[in-house]
Symmetry: C2
Subunit: 405 residues, 2 copies
Amino acid sequence: MSDVLSVVTERATKQQDGPESPRSVGWTRSRRVRLADKQNPLPLDCGRTIAPVDVEYELYGKLNEERDNAILIVHALSGDAHVAGWAADAEELGRPWLKTRPGWWDTMVGPGKAFDTEKYCVICSNILGGCYGTTGPASIDPETNRPYGLRFPVVTVGDWVRLQERLVSYLGIQRLLAVAGGSLGGQQALEWALAFPDRVDSVIICAAAARLSDQGLAFNAVGRHAIMTDPNYRQGDYYDGSTPDQGVAIARMLAHITYLSEVAMNRKFGRRFCNGEGPGFHLGVDFEVEGYLRHQGKAFAERFDANSYLYITRAMDYYDAAAWGGGDIDQACQRIKSRLLLVSFSSDWLYRPEQTKELAQALYRNRKLASYVNIDSSYGHDAFLLETDKLSYLVRCFLEGGEEQ
Amino acid sequence: MSDVLSVVTERATKQQDGPESPRSVGWTRSRRVRLADKQNPLPLDCGRTIAPVDVEYELYGKLNEERDNAILIVHALSGDAHVAGWAADAEELGRPWLKTRPGWWDTMVGPGKAFDTEKYCVICSNILGGCYGTTGPASIDPETNRPYGLRFPVVTVGDWVRLQERLVSYLGIQRLLAVAGGSLGGQQALEWALAFPDRVDSVIICAAAARLSDQGLAFNAVGRHAIMTDPNYRQGDYYDGSTPDQGVAIARMLAHITYLSEVAMNRKFGRRFCNGEGPGFHLGVDFEVEGYLRHQGKAFAERFDANSYLYITRAMDYYDAAAWGGGDIDQACQRIKSRLLLVSFSSDWLYRPEQTKELAQALYRNRKLASYVNIDSSYGHDAFLLETDKLSYLVRCFLEGGEEQ
C-alpha cells in the first residue's frame, strides 16, 4: 500500500545502509522471466487467460543445495520487486527515483537483518497488472499491438499468487520457507497459505486482514473515480499522449491520508502554516499538510501508471479470504497448514487491529499455529514500513521458532 | 457539515412530521434582508470589507415582548436557513430538493420539540459565502457586474458570526437565549460565546471542537484540489457555462466517508455487491458502497456551488478558538460568560470526542458553566443529525436549567 516516498521524512531520520554497508545487500539488478506464453497462458479468476506474462523479480542471498531456504516477499499497492539494496539498474529501468533510496523494506532484508540474506534466499517480484516490469495495462496487447489499457483483464490477489507460484517453481523451489508482506502484501501472504498450503512453511502477515472494510472500499472507489473522470484518462487509452496525472494525484493524496494516523499527522504538521505565521486568506496551499499532500500526489503521478492503480486497488477490494470457505472464514482457515505470524499496528485505521485479530481468532478456532501481535505504534498503516525494529524482533523469533521444530 | 441528503436512508426510517403535523412548524417561507451596504460594509478578518450583503433567514415561533426568547441555530457546511418545517417557497427559490423533506434539524425544532417553537423564537440564517440565499461567490460583484467567483473575499467563522450579530440586532434582539449548532455550526456557536460574551446566555456545541485536526485539514485540501483541477472550474469563472461537477462530486464523496463511522458503513453495506452475488470483474461500480457514494456526489454537485464549497471548507480550516487567547485555548476561554453544553458522539472521527473533551477541560479550568456529554453512537459525525432523541433530552435539560437560574 504505502511506499517509500510516502514516508521519506520519517525514514530520513533512520540510519540508511549505503550500498557498501556490510548490512546492505549492496548493488542490485532486477531480473525478468516469461512465465506464461501462448502455449501455457495464465488462467485468471475472471475466467479469461493472459499471455505472454513477463515477471520482474529480484533475488538476494543464495539458494542452498536443498533449496529449502527461500523466502518470498510480496509488495504492497505501489511497491516493486526492489525490496532491498541499491538499484544499479535504476537508469536503464527508467526509474530514477530508485537512485536516491534503498529498497522499500531495506531495514528488514540484508545480511544480519530479520530476513537475513546470509541464511535465506530472498525473492521479490512485481505483481501482475503493476507498472514496474511485470506485464500490466501498459504492456503491449498481442491482439492489438497496442498497450492493453482497459482491455487488460481484471486481476485478483489469487491471480498474483498463482503467478508467484510459477516463479517459485521456475526457480526450482518446491517449498518456501516463508512468504511475508504488509498491507496488500499481507493479503498475498495469506492467500499463499490458503492456495498453496503444501508449498509454504511459514507466513508473515502485517497490517492486513481477511478483507478490506467498506470504508477502505469507499476510499478506493473515490480514488478510482478521480482517475477515471480526469479528461486525460480517455477510457484508459492515454499512453500516446497526456496522462491523467491530476486524477492519480488526487487518488494518492486521499489514500495517503489513510496511511497515516491522526496522531502522526498532528505531530508532523500541527496545523502549521506554510508562511510560519497565520492564515494567508487564499484558497491555495496555506497549511503545511496541504503542501505535503500536494507533493505526494504529484510525485506519485510521475512514477505510477494510472491504469495499474485502478487494477491493483480493484484486486485489493475483491480480496476476501473467506471465499475459500464459501464465505465462512473459519471454514476457509481449515485448509491452512503453514505457521502464521500476524502483526497489526495499534493506530492503523486502514486495516484495523480488530480486523487482524478477527483473522487470528479464526485461525485459533481451527487450532492453527498462529501468533498474533498488535504493535503499539502511532505511525498508522505506514507502521509496517517504519516500525521495523519491533517487527524485526518478531520476525526473527518467528523464523527461528520454525527452525527448531 | 453533513446534510439531509447524506443521511436520507437513516432518516427515512424515522417518523417524519408532515407539514400538517402538530409537531411541525408547518409550511415555511424564507426571508431576506440587506445587512451591509456601501455606507455600512461588513469588515472581514482578511482585512477587506464586503457590500452589499444580503442574508437569507427563517424564523419560527414568536419573539416575546421582552425579546428574550430567541434562539439562533447555525448550520453546517452544506446546510441552509431552512432548519425546520416544509419550504413553501422551494420552487421559487429554485431548490426542488426542499420539496421532498423537512428542514435539516426538523427533529429538533418545532412545537413541543427540544427547541420548542411554542416557547422560543428560532432564527436560522445562511452563512456568508454560501449558495442558499446569502451573498456568496455566485452573487454579483458590484465592481464588475459579474459573479464574484474567486474575487469573493476569503471569509471566516468570525465573519459569519459578526454578520449573524447584525441580523440579531436588526431583529431587535439584544441578547440571545441560546446559539446552537453541530459540526461547522458548533464552531459558530463557540465563536458566538467568544466574540459576543454579553449577547448570548447559553451555547450548544455539537460534534465540534476548538479547531479541526490536521487529518480534517487534509481531507478538505484534497476535496478543494479535486474541484480546482476540474477543467470546468476555470479559475472559478464557470457561472456562464459548464460547472465543475466532477470535482465537486469527488470532494463530496470523500467528505461523505468522513461523516460516517466505519461501523455504520459496514452495517449499511457489508461489502455487498450491486448484483447481489459476487465480483463483476470490472472497474466501474461493483460494490453497493461505490454506487451509494457516486449517487451522493452527483446529487450534491447538482445542488451546491463549487466556489461556496471552497470558501466554506477554508473557513472551517482556519477556525481556531485559541486565537482569542493568542494561541492559548485556556486564555481564550476566559472571556466566555455563557453557559455551555458540549456534545460529542463516540464514533465521530471528524471531530473526535477527545477534541470536544479538550475544549470542555479548558472551560472547566476556567470555572465556566460547561457540561460535556459524549453520546454513545455508531453513526459517526452524522450523529448530530441522527441521534436527535438523545440530543433532544440533553438540550431540553440544558435550556430548562438556564431558566431556573
